[in-house]
């Protein structure tokens, strides 16, 4: 029953005509000369033209933009093939100019159209132009192409950077079963190994950590806690060369945040370790050398008191022989000898203290530091007729490692005295100025002992560089620089102009207690 009524309904209407009238495409039927035979409702709506007004008109008269030659070629081709020819929206833009006015800007002023030129009646040479709106698709395609280009560019950049990382950064990856799953080319090159030697090996076996129980335990603890861990490890290359690596174990997560293993970044610190070792030897050498200089100063310092004791003893001897030695003289002489011996003992203590490294910081007036330093040098200063002046405010205090600072000052002052010894001159001056800034204390020591040539002034702080004519180890100023920079958190610079040489020490006024042994 339902079937019959449906069939009756469809017989009563012209299905094709109804569909074509309402289809969401533009349809124009034209002949080879472009005369219009049909113009559907869709086109009426979009072009604001009525079919009755355009029928019989030439398509290129109604729409002046149409390239007649191309359209006629496509019509001829379609009719000849008895198969459609086409206009493609991405190339031809549009056939019928239809302005678009969308809120979402597509960048197009006119609707982009695909047009199929379909043979309609080959005898009458009629074709149907089926026009479909492709604006959104073309717009999306353009956007897509731009984004694909961006992705391609980013991908190239990513590959380039990945290659750089692979060649430059030492790393290996392990999974949660401790199997090595990846390692950089740089790592393989450094150790002289191939992928096959490393891949899927157990990390602990490969790193030969069996004998390093403590380290293994630490690594495992950090792995279990998924924490970053740094450790040093000596490894052998394929040529049995020892290299020291500073490894940093970092947990690795995938894009969803799932923990997938660890990356071990390595830094080859073999050279740094060597330099550190050499520096230790250098410092040891320089301290030995400084000690020698100190002993020479002690000897100088002791000469006068020893001479005093010697004189007292000789006087006592003479008086005894002449039998004029009374108890008062003896008592007086004992006192003098005791005081002088005590002075000698103090001198030794002072020197010994300078070679002790402080563990504790002391807040001390800078004047006291200079008093202790110059006390040991005053003999020479006077002996070589050096006019020594200090301009130090009494209230400047510094929280620092005093012995290291005294040792540094003695070294610098001694350098000036030695320069005067080598080339004596008129009006020899050695001037000390100390002032403070909000966070620093600045010490300036200036002599006029001849200066340093411009071409070598930059080298005087380097190890084994000496301007002294003899007995110069070339380590004194290097030691000073090391102490100032690495232990006193300061800077040491040497300047020279004419006959003057100026040493400037910039020191942290309040040093934090983080000293290491030197």
């Amino acid at each position: 029953m339902a079937k019959e009524s449906t069939e009756q309904y469809f017989r009563s209407i012209d299905v094709d005509k109804k569909l074509i009238a309402n289809i969401d495409n533009g349809i124009i039927i034209v002949d080879e000369a472009l005369n219009i035979y049909y113009f559907n409702k869709w086109l009426e709506i979009y072009t604001h033209l009525k079919e009755k007004d355009v029928l019989g008109e030439k398509l290129n008269s109604v729409f002046a933009n149409i390239n007649v030659k191309t359209l006629q070629r496509k019509i001829r081709t379609a009719l000849k093939m008895d198969s459609p020819s086409f206009y493609i929206a991405s190339n031809s833009k549009y056939l019928i100019p239809i302005k678009i006015n969308r809120i979402k800007a597509s960048g197009f002023t006119h609707m982009r159209q695909d047009v199929s030129v379909i043979p309609f009646d080959t005898e009458k040479r009629l074709v149907a132009l089926i026009i479909s709106d492709q604006t959104s698709i073309v717009s999306m395609n353009i956007l897509l192409e731009l984004n694909i280009q961006k992705i391609e560019d980013l991908n190239k950049e990513l590959i380039r950077e990945k290659n750089i990382i692979d060649k430059r950064v030492l790393f290996m990856k392990i999974n949660n079963e401790y199997l090595i799953t990846d390692c950089s080319q740089a790592y393989m090159d450094l150790l002289g190994v191939q992928k096959i030697d490393i891949y899927l090996q157990n990390f602990f076996n490969y790193e030969n950590l069996k004998s390093a129980e403590e380290l293994t335990k630490e690594i495992l603890n950090h792995i279990q806690e998924k924490k970053v861990y740094k450790y040093e490890k000596i490894t052998l290359t394929d040529k049995e060369k020892e290299i020291t690596l500073l490894n940093t174990l970092v947990p690795e997560y995938d894009k969803n945040g799932m923990h997938i293993g660890f990356i071990i970044f390595s830094e080859n610190i073999t050279s740094a370790k060597l330099v550190q070792k050499q520096q230790q030897i250098l410092l040891q050498n320089s301290r030995t050398s400084a000690m020698g200089e100190m002993i020479s100063m002690i000897a100088h310092q002791w000469r006068q008191p020893l001479s005093v004791i010697n004189t007292i003893i000789a006087t006592l001897k003479v008086k005894k022989e002449l039998d004029v030695l009374d108890d008062a003289t003896l008592e007086e002489s004992y006192d003098k000898i005791e005081k002088t011996v005590s002075y000698l003992s103090d001198t030794i203590d002072d020197f010994r203290n300078f070679f002790k490294t402080n563990k504790e910081l002391s807040l001390i007036p800078i004047q006291t530091i200079f008093d202790k330093a110059t006390n040991l040098l005053m003999g020479d200063i006077k002996a070589y007729k050096i006019h020594y002046t200090e301009n130090i405010s009494d209230d400047i205090k510094i929280n620092t490692y005093k012995n290291e600072l005294i040792q540094t000052l003695i070294n610098i002052l001694k350098n000036s005295i030695d320069a005067f010894k080598d080339t004596p001159r008129e009006n020899q001056t050695l001037t000390v100025k100390v002032w403070e800034e909000p966070r620093y204390v600045i010490i300036e020591i200036e002599d006029n002992a001849g200066g340093i040539k411009e071409e070598i002034v930059g080298k005087v702080l380097e190890p084994y560089f000496s301007t002294k004519s003899k007995n110069g180890t070339g380590l004194g100023l290097y030691l000073c620089k090391t102490i100032v920079e690495e232990h006193l958190n300061g800077e040491l610079t040497i300047k020279s102009k004419g006959v003057n040489t100026t040493s400037i020490i910039k020191l942290a006024k309040n040093l934090e207690n983080k000293k290491e042994e030197i």
């Binding site: 001829r76 081709t77 000849k80 086409f86 493609i88």
Partner: protein, 199 residues
């Protein structure tokens, strides 16, 4: 012999059918170009896509227009047309084209003309009907051909070398009719039927 390769007889029949289809195509191309045109008799081969990609290595360093057009029906697949830059220039010159967009349009038209007339006639001879989708075009260097999805998605290729001559101008191109195994089986069956009818 693999069920997806053609026997010598089948290949001969296919060549004959293509010769007939080419006659039609020549007429359409002449109509399109509005000039007397000849198409060289095509050499037809059925090869695997991997073999085609290997052959295409010969194009390395050259720049090609590559247009494709899908067709559907009992015999379905996608036709691909390669045309070198010089040939495209010859086409542009002859059609008096003003810009690159017009040239792309003309190449697409040529693709449509050649592939439609060839495949429609081929289908007609085998009592089948096929419909075409809109063609699309890319200008791509050789190194992109290997990664082109169109070529990768199909298993077998009917390779047709062609040369269009008109007014002392030459357009060299290659048409590949890319098909999947189902269509090759259908083609093989139809060719066998034609052979049996001829016996």
């Amino acid at each position: 012999m693999s069920e997806l390769s053609l026997t010598q007889d089948e290949q001969d029949v296919l060549q004959e059918l293509m010769n007939i289809a080419y006659g039609d195509a020549t007429a359409v191309v002449a109509e399109m170009l509005d000039a007397f045109a000849t198409l060289s008799i095509p050499n037809i081969r059925l090869i695997e896509t991997s073999a085609l990609l290997h052959e295409l290595k010969g194009l390395e360093g050259e720049s090609y227009f590559f247009s494709t057009q899908a067709f559907n029906g009992m015999f379905s697949g996608e036709s691909a047309f390669f045309i070198d830059t010089q040939s495209a220039c010859n086409l542009a010159k002859h059609l008096d084209l003003e810009n690159d967009e017009d040239l792309d349009d003309a190449i697409l038209e040529l693709t449509n003309v050649l592939t439609s007339s060839l495949t429609i006639r081929l289908a007609q001879e085998m009592n089948a009907e096929i419909k075409f989708s809109l063609p699309s075009i890319n200008k791509l260097p050789y190194n992109k051909i290997q990664t082109n999805k169109t070529l990768q998605e199909y298993s077998q290729v009917i390779v047709i070398d062609t040369e269009i001559n008109f007014k002392d101008q030459k357009i060299n191109g290659e048409i590949f009719i890319l098909t999947k195994d189902g269509s090759i089986k259908w083609l093989k069956n139809q060719l066998s039927s034609i052979l049996e009818a001829l016996m």
